[in-house]
Amino acid sequence: MAASEANTVAAAATGTSNLPAARVRRIIKEDKDIFACGSESLFLISRATEYFIDSLVRESYEFSRLDKRKTVQYKDMAKAVQSIEQYDFLSDIIPPTVSVRKPATTETQ
């Protein structure tokens, strides 16, 4: 995976996160198997998510570049998810868009 530049929002070690803590907390609470989470852990998860976003966006952009585009499109992200092992958990969240075709074998309209 590409190393991040030190000047991104995600990379500033200020002891604060750009993501709202309450929202991170709510997401974690959805998981009934989780008993409790320390405040430092919550902060770390928040920051890790920022690094993850940074990473996902950069990897997606690589595909935009290959296509010589200046707009990062969904399909770039889908390609990134497909090609990077650490993103396997996203395969259902960011699936490749498949064009819908009428099945050739069964009855036609």
Binding site: G15, T16, R23, R25, K29, I34, F35, G38, S39, F43
Partner: protein, 152 residues
């Protein structure tokens, strides 16, 4: 799906995500709406995924509360060990910030920062000292922390 709220309804605010996304791209590069949407969904799922993995690490280590070590172990386990160095720096900065806030409050119960690591009380998910500018202060859950004086 029985709940009305699913994990995918808990997106981060658009403005926040846009900011983080933009800082990861060169100035002249834009991002399509659908891709931004993908980032939103992916972020929420990531939180969930990391937290669940960290929870497993916690259980394996014999404790119920997710500790920072569990989060770091979890990152290693999911192949994102690259984040660990930066996160350790984040932790240090967070500890300093926490200390500063406590000095400002100047409570008599001068809690050692080191003790935070040992807290194994039954606290449902808590964020004690976050920089409030980064927080949605829309929810004020009652938090059962015996140690921390609750002052507004």
């Amino acid at each position: 799906m029985s709940d009305t709220t699913t994990i995918e309804d808990l997106d981060f605010p658009k403005a926040v995500l846009t900011r983080v996304i933009k800082s990861s791209l060169p100035e002249n590069i834009s991002i399509q709406k659908e891709a931004r949407h993908g980032v939103a969904k992916a972020s929420t799922v990531f939180v969930s995924y990391l937290a669940a993995t960290a929870n497993d690490c916690a259980r394996e280590s014999g404790h119920k509360t997710i500790m920072t070590q569990d989060v770091l172990k979890a990152l290693e386990a999911i192949g994102l060990g690259d984040f660990i160095d930066r996160l350790k720096a984040d932790l240090d900065a967070f500890a300093i910030k926490t200390k500063e806030k406590k000095k400002v409050k100047s409570t008599d119960e001068d809690e050692d920062i080191e003790d935070v690591e040992d807290e194994e009380e039954d606290i449902s998910v808590v964020m004690d000292v976050a920089d409030t500018s980064a927080m949605d202060v829309d929810d004020t859950e009652s938090i059962d922390t015996a140690k921390r004086p609750r002052t507004e």
